[in-house]
């Protein structure tokens, strides 16, 4: 499976370095290594979800208790979480770091991913959720750190879009 192990490691290490101690996740192809890294890490609480929206509530509870968390999901999981993001995280001003695999972009071969890919950025803008791309390993650490800094200073959800160029190693 050409999901990049090395990029996943860079992302995971950056999450750890930024103090993340709880990760909620719903598996998708691009996230397999990240979820396994969380699973193998005795210092990380991994919460496997039935549906991504639960992760908003779990992160809110963790935040109240002083635990830094992150959500790992596909962009369709973001679509499925929107009521929770608006009526829990935004209404109650919860810092929420969302790592969203950006399926359906240029290069997508799976037809079923393409509609979600086409609306992801517009929805983030409509919800006034600050976001940036993670598309190269060399800026992953600083963007995760800065995204989290803004989430905490503004008490709001922020998103990082995990892009194909970072997550997927195309056969040459």
């Amino acid at each position: 499976m050409p999901v990049s192990t090395s990029s996943s490691r860079v992302i995971y290490d950056a999450l750890k370095a930024s103090g993340v101690r709880l990760v909620s996740a719903l598996p998708e192809t691009w996230l397999v290594h990240l979820i396994r890294m969380a699973e193998d890490d005795p210092d990380m609480i991994l919460v496997r979800l039935a549906k991504e929206e639960e992760g908003v509530g779990i992160s809110a509870g963790a935040h109240f208790a002083g635990v830094t968390s992150a959500m790992l999901m596909q962009n369709h999981g973001f679509l499925a979480s929107i009521n929770g993001i608006v009526s829990c995280a935004q209404l109650y001003k919860i810092p929420l770091l969302m790592l969203i695999s950006y399926r359906g972009e240029f290069g997508e071969r799976d037809p079923w991913q393409t509609e979600g890919g086409g609306v992801t950025e517009d929805l983030l803008r409509a919800l006034r959720i600050p976001f940036a791309y993670l598309d190269r390993p060399d800026h992953v650490a600083s963007r995760i750190r800065k995204a989290q800094t803004l989430a905490y200073s503004a008490n709001k959800p922020v998103a990082l879009l995990l892009c194909r160029d970072l997550m997927w190693e195309e056969p040459a």
């Binding site: 919460v47 039935a50 509530g57 779990i58 509870g61 963790a62 109240f64 208790a65 968390s69």
Partner: protein, 188 residues
Amino acid sequence: MMRRIDALNAIYPRLQESVVVTIMGAVAAELQSIGHRPNFFYLQHAMGLASSLGLGIALSRPMQRVIVLDGDGSVLMNLGGLTTLARYRPKNLVHIVFDNESLLSVGGFPTATSTGSDLAAIAHAAGVPHTSTVRETGALVGALNDAIGRNDLATIVAKVEAVGPAAFVTDLGLLENRFEFQRWLRQH
């Protein structure tokens, strides 16, 4: 069948000493009418996520007793959340579901529990280790005391009358409650 306000009064001594997360509407307003405390958080929207929020607290603070006050309409919106609760089985969490078989806050339309859906059976099938359905305040207090004494995850479905307060908006601001609760939790 009991009234929810009487049920809340009966379990209030246990709520006082716990971290409490409630759903929106009638439950929040009634609990506040009995007495707000800084260790009570009222999730005034995001239907379905009260149990997820309670799980996040329970996993982050294993030494704190967490009581989630849920409702049939909210649980039905997040049935998958029961499987997540059961999967992580926080021993410090008690999940109470006030089941009035209706969406009282928005017109009283009947939910599926009015036509036979059994939330305790669903929770049991989801893997929650201890489930029960109670219809009287004494039985509710007993079930809650048992759950706390057992020190294990439990879902208690409390069948209540579909009656509630005249108004749902109280003078406690959402963000006031949120920051007060966070401060309390981080100090305890």
